[in-house]
């Protein structure tokens, strides 16, 4: 079943086409990878999906319904949560308060929200840090807090924006495990990642984009062999 679909996403910043004609369909329960060199428009696609930036043209469908004109907070309530590449913790609040604030997306009383928050904190392995202020956490834990917070809104689709960037190899392994576990819970995931180990092991399908345009789509193996992808990342062979 197709749960999520974008059609011909276009975003212009002035005369610059940041995203130009990106279409993809995502199956329920899938982990879908989005790759591309720096500045190719990956994060912009996320910002278009949750309407942080308005679309120039195109269509975003969730559960067969257009969401392109909905406000960012409405989209979260529908069940699409995201993390930020440049983490945005609620700095002076504790981990528990951070996650509780987002749990209010689904429940109304403090008790229920805290219960849900603690569940998610436990699930994401942040229990030892729950009383710490978010601003004091190292980057690895802040990235994890982003995921925890997004999970507390009980999303159907989770958009992960480079949640493994800046982590140590051991933390990366843990993050991979966590993402797989979230997926096993039935959450569909779209993931942006530069670390090939991550994207190649977890995604079922990958879309590669460059200069805001799709250049290749397919399974991780297909993408790894695709000459256009290799060119986008490493440059053309005869230029070397």
């Amino acid at each position: 079943m197709i749960i999520f679909e974008t059609k011909d996403l276009v975003k212009f910043f002035g005369g610059l086409a940041a995203v130009n004609g990106v279409s993809f369909q995502i199956e329920q329960g899938e982990i879908f990878g989005l790759i591309g060199p720096n500045g190719s428009g990956k994060t912009t696609i996320f910002n278009l999906i949750n309407n942080y930036f308005p679309l120039t043209s195109g269509e975003v469908l969730f559960d067969g319904r257009s969401i392109k004109n909905l406000k960012t907070h409405k989209i979260c309530h529908l069940g699409i949560a995201r993390t930020f590449q440049v983490v945005k913790p609620l700095a002076r609040l504790t981990v528990l308060e951070n996650v509780t604030a987002s749990a209010f997306c689904r429940v109304n009383s403090i008790k229920e929200a805290q219960k849900l928050a603690l569940e998610m904190i436990d699930f994401c392995g942040l229990m030892p840090y729950k009383e710490q202020q978010a601003k004091g956490l190292p980057i690895g834990l802040r990235k994890r807090l982003e995921i925890t917070r997004a999970m507390a809104t009980q999303p159907k689709i989770l958009l992960l924006d480079e949640t493994c960037a800046g982590l140590t190899p051991k933390e990366v392994d843990l993050a991979i495990e966590l993402i797989k576990e979230i997926n096993r819970r039935g959450v569909t995931i779209i993931v942006i990642e530069h670390i090939m180990k991550v994207i190649m092991t977890i995604s079922q399908r990958i879309l590669a984009i460059n200069h805001g345009q799709p250049i290749a789509a397919g399974t991780p193996e297909e993408i790894a062999r695709n000459p256009q992808v290799i060119e986008a990342y490493l440059g053309e062979e005869d230029h070397a």
Binding site: Y52, K71, R82, P89, L90, F104, S109, I110, A150
Partner: protein
């Protein structure tokens, strides 16, 4: 557990405030207490929108003045008792809040701060010049209902208790989490499903309601208002900020402590340290506030309540026998 302890603390404070007039007989000191309690309300309201929600208001005087003038104009034009202002003043202030919020809260950046600053000044000029409606610079004079100060004291005590009660209830609910989230990071808040425009408006509505009610109380208590008093930029708007900063931004008790300190210092200077200092000292209160703010920001940026543990340590170090 934590909240029940807070409730106990609040009840004790309320009880002490309730029986204080048994020990303090002089009208002068009751008057000062009434002023303190009024500033508790105004400061707490500023703290809600600016300290907790992070939308810095430079124009609490706009809400205060609108509340006061609602009571005054109902008296002069409709010949109603100015006490009706206590019921309606908060609502008219909320109407003003809706307009400002509607215009500013979909934007980011300093627009809200600037708009509130402007709103206070615009309203002051309107009240000055629309003589038919507001009596202009002449102001509005009413006969006070009570000659004793005690009824006013208990009234403003009740108002302040209500105001603090509502704010602490709000801050211990979903609303409170949302307000603080908006302060910490508006983009993150929005992506977590928080309707930031709506909740900023709600915060301002609550803040304006009690500020407007305090304005209406002010007319009833003082018996006189004019535009330069109730729409004053430095005597109301800025002082509301000072009360918040000195007491402790984003703490429940901060503005209460701040109000006590500010009214105390103001009175100290107004009377030129009870007549002990030369007369010119009374001109220096603005400068004293300035110095106080600089010192607060330099040495205890979280205010008296926010940095209470720091202050305690300071005193304990100075007198080790007190610690043991």
């Amino acid at each position: 557990m934590k909240s029940s302890l807070g409730l106990l603390k609040a009840l004790v404070v309320l009880m002490i405030a309730g029986i204080l007039p048994l020990f303090i007989k002089q009208d002068y000191y009751i008057h000062l207490l009434i002023l303190v309690l009024m500033w508790v309300i105004i400061g707490s309201c500023w703290n809600l929108i600016s300290g907790y929600t992070g939308q810095v208001s430079f124009g609490q005087a706009a809400f205060f003045g609108v509340g006061a003038y609602t009571a005054g104009i109902m008296f002069t034009k409709l010949e109603l008792s100015p006490w009706w202002g206590l019921v309606l003043g908060g609502w008219t202030a909320m109407v003003l809040a809706l307009i400002i919020g509607y215009l500013c809260f979909r934007l980011r950046g300093p627009y809200f701060a600037l708009a509130t600053l402007a709103a206070g000044e615009i309203l002051r000029l309107i009240a000055n010049n629309w003589v038919d409606f507001t009596e202009g610079m002449v102001g509005i004079l009413i006969m006070q209902t009570f000659s004793s100060k005690l009824p006013y004291y208990y009234m403003v005590l009740g108002l302040a208790a209500c105001c603090l009660g509502v704010i602490s209830l709000v801050m211990n609910s979903k609303l409170g989490y949302y307000f603080v989230s908006i302060r910490e990071d508006q983009d993150a808040a929005e992506s977590l499903g928080i309707n930031t425009a709506l909740y900023k408006n709600l915060s301002l509505l609550i803040s304006s309601f009690f500020t407007g009610t305090a304005g209406a109380f002010y007319l009833n208590y003082m018996g006189f208002i004019d535009p330069s008093v109730v729409f004053s930029l430095h005597d109301i708007s800025i002082q509301a900020i000072l009360v918040g900063i000195i007491g402790g931004v984003a703490t429940i008790w901060g503005p209460a402590i701040g109000a006590l300190i500010m009214v105390g210092i103001q009175e100290l200077f107004r009377t030129a340290i009870f007549g002990l200092a030369p007369k010119w000292v009374s001109q220096g209160h603005a400068m004293a506030f300035g110095i106080l703010v600089v010192l607060t920001i330099l040495f205890m940026s979280n205010g008296v309540v926010g940095d209470w543990s720091k202050i305690k340590r300071l005193f304990i170090r100075k007198s080790p026998e007190a610690a043991s």
